[in-house]
């Protein structure tokens, strides 16, 4: 009978957990490939638990943030709110699962809860229920309490969204609490700014009143390294997130640009003309000590990035053959290989799993050449590549999100340089910044 069923249910998730006597006194899952649709997730607005005047606006913020986080994750198909039953559940005993699990909502998962302000404290209870599993529906139950501010409402929504994504995404680290560092000139000078991953909470960090470029946040989120024009020379500068000010860092002769942290935070790679007057790739300790030169070819070598999985390889941009191309070498400078061999390729960023590079590429360079500068990803091992943006301004400076599923980049498609995000397959493109000119985004590692 089992075999007959198997035969009939080809390509259908068939699950059977059998207790086969002593041979199987542990749990078994029997299942098969299913290239099905993403999870249908219903997220009714959280219920107001108290009547305090603060509750309603915070609840609105919370609901919007939670919805956007889950929608942005790219692993859910969000069930439109117009399909929902009229009553929003606020706690498990108010849930009528069959109303959610069957059409019209036909959700397979349901996230719901309540939010209330009492005595200046914001308390949120949230649940995630499996709408198709009436016997034991609860997947997740969480409770949060913070001071009642708008930022905290967003923070709690981010955390709850991350929990849901972590559970249902199979261990995908949530990015809802991650941040994006970038350069903005909206106040007259190019300075380092930071914002939440969804574009909220934009705030200025540095006040150099000269020029700051290519900010890179350290893996522990404590320091931002960037290149800045300081006393008429380009130096690697260091901004402490803990202290909220610039901290000193080793100064080198010549011009020093495009710092990059190794994923363990112990080393920096950057481009410097300290020895030859020609920009070459150097590595130094996180303190700035022990500079080590890795490249020595004529032509600029800039924009190094470490392989975050191993810290054993560095990708960078070299102009040794004329137009800039992406190259790869071991972290000691050996084993150099060229990754791109045509056009104009710049701004590499390495995916967190170490398998892919994303970079900006103008595949046909020159006056009248077809195509624009677009974001590509390339498999390091096979050199297969995929174009992610098409026919939409000049795109540059892609940077991977910590979950390896999103890319933030800069685009001129609206007429000025602005920061955008997308899923790593090129879908779900969203504009994050609108004021002034914003460029060179860098996604925090966590």
């Amino acid at each position: 009978m089992l075999r007959a069923l198997l035969g009939k249910s080809a390509l259908f998730v068939f699950l059977l957990v059998v207790l086969l006597g002593q041979a199987l006194a542990q749990d078994w899952i029997r299942t098969g490939t299913n290239r099905g649709a993403p999870v249908r997730l219903a997220v009714p607005d959280f219920k107001a638990a108290t009547t305090e005047p603060q509750t309603a606006p915070l609840n609105t913020t919370f609901n919007q943030t939670l919805w956007n986080d889950l929608d942005n994750s790219g692993i859910f198909e969000m069930v439109a709110k117009s399909f929902y039953p009229l009553q929003n559940p606020g706690s498990p005993n108010e849930v009528k699962l069959d109303a959610w699990g069957n059409p019209p909502p036909n959700a397979s998962m349901l996230a719901f809860g309540n939010l209330g302000v009492t005595n200046g404290k914001l308390a949120v209870q949230g649940w995630l229920f499996d709408a198709k599993n009436t016997a034991s529906p609860q997947v997740l139950g969480k409770q949060y309490q913070e001071a009642a501010t708008n930022d905290n409402a967003r923070l709690i929504a981010h955390r709850f969204a991350d929990e849901i994504i972590f559970r249902l995404g199979g261990g995908i680290p949530g990015i809802a609490e991650s941040r994006i560092f970038y350069i903005s000139s909206r106040n007259g000078h190019k300075e380092v700014w930071v914002m939440d991953y969804d574009g909220a909470g934009q705030q200025q960090l540095t006040h150099l009143n000269s020029i700051a470029l290519s900010p890179r946040i350290s893996p522990d989120n404590s320091r931002v390294a960037f290149s800045g024009l300081s006393n008429d020379s380009w130096q690697i500068l260091m901004y402490s997130m803990d202290l909220g000010r610039l901290v000193s860092f080793q100064r080198f002769p010549g011009g020093n640009y495009s710092p990059a942290w190794s994923s363990d935070g112990t080393k920096l790679a950057f481009s410097s003309s300290m020895r030859s007057g020609d920009p070459e790739i150097f590595t130094v300790d996180a303190t700035g000590a022990n500079p080590k030169r890795l490249t020595s070819f004529k032509g600029s070598d800039v924009s190094p990035v470490w392989n975050p999985k191993t810290n054993g390889q560095i990708a960078w941009v070299s102009g040794r053959n004329g137009l800039p191309q992406i190259f790869l070498m071991d972290a000691d400078g050996s084993n150099v290989q060229q990754i791109t061999s045509e056009g104009y390729a710049v701004s590499p960023s390495w995916s967190p799993n170490g398998l892919l590079l994303t970079f900006a590429w103008r595949r046909h360079y020159g006056p009248g050449a077809p195509g624009g500068q677009d974001i590509y990803i390339m498999n390091i091992a096979t050199h297969e590549f995929v174009q992610l943006t098409h026919d939409a301004g000049v795109n540059d400076f892609p940077s991977w999100s910590p979950d390896g599923r999103h890319i933030v980049f800069q685009s001129t498609r609206t007429g000025s340089e602005q920061i955008w995000t997308m899923l790593a397959d090129g879908t779900h493109q969203q504009q994050l910044t609108r004021d002034g000119k914003n460029s060179m985004p860098n996604w925090s590692v966590k």
Partner: protein
């Protein structure tokens, strides 16, 4: 002359054969009777139902051996739970009234002999990193598992086998993750309609382990693509917090359809 000799020999065998046939018949009858009224029936051999008799609850009654050595890495768990074994208490013999008949056949007490044979044991002072007996919580760590001839797993199996119904969402997650990481471009289109079965474990932290091909599809590229899919996965996400076991075994099949 020769013929007569042979004839006589045959005549001699006749009786033996009869006797032998009789005995065999008797044996066969006994075997049939035993088959009907006696031992286990065919479909129950190792089958799905008779296993009840030797299933986990019987095994879980086996007392776990007390740890021989005090655990070294006690600091690794914040739980002050791993302890030395319970100090042995002198067993008190109940004051039983001896039965007069049996007392004559009383076995000689062997304990003094064994005590004499054993050399005096050196007294080892307790290690400083050991939590004294009685100050710990419930035991945790490796003693939560045991191994018998057929079983390996945690000992808390109330309702073993309900993982799929309790945590259907986890199973779906596993399914999605494997399917997403299975690159069918690695497979030659001629493999269409074939299926490979893999088995693997998911450990408590969600990482896959012990990936094996249970039943090959007969097409090496398909088998390899399935194994590659598992290699690409670092984690499925930790096992559900409500689940008490230490791992889940998964049988996963890959159907290649164009």
């Amino acid at each position: 002359m020769l013929q007569t000799g042979i004839f006589e020999e045959r005549d001699k065998w006749g009786r033996e054969i009869m006797l032998s046939a009789g005995l065999h018949t008797l044996l066969a009858i006994v075997a049939i009777i035993m088959g009907i009224f006696g031992g286990p029936h065919g479909e129950n051999w190792g089958g799905s139902t008779s296993g009840e008799a030797v299933q986990a609850n019987l095994v879980s009654a086996v007392p776990l051996p007390a740890p021989q050595q005090p655990t070294q890495n006690i600091v690794a768990t914040e739980n002050k739970g791993l302890t030395q074994s319970v100090p042995q208490q002198a067993e008190e013999q109940p004051d039983a009234v001896p039965i007069p008949d049996k007392q004559v056949k009383k076995r000689p007490d062997r304990t003094p002999i064994t005590q004499n044979i054993k050399p005096p044991q050196p007294v080892t002072p307790p290690k400083d990193n050991v939590v004294p007996y009685g100050e710990g919580g419930p035991i945790s760590g490796p003693y939560g598992t045991f191994t018998t001839t057929h079983t390996k797993g945690g000992f808390n199996f109330q309702g073993a086998g309900d993982f799929g119904s309790r945590f259907a969402w986890y199973v779906q997650t596993v399914n999605r993750k494997v399917s997403d990481n299975w690159y069918t471009v690695e497979v030659n289109p001629s493999a269409q309609g074939h299926r490979v079965y893999l088995i693997f474990d998911i450990l408590k932290d969600g990482s896959p382990a012990n990936v094996q091909i249970e039943q090959s599809s007969g097409i090496p590229a398909l088998d390899q693509s399935a194994v590659n899919a598992l290699k690409r996965i670092d984690t499925f996400g930790p096992l559900p917090p409500g689940y008490s076991g230490n791992k889940v075994s998964v049988e996963f099949w890959f159907d290649y359809q164009k």
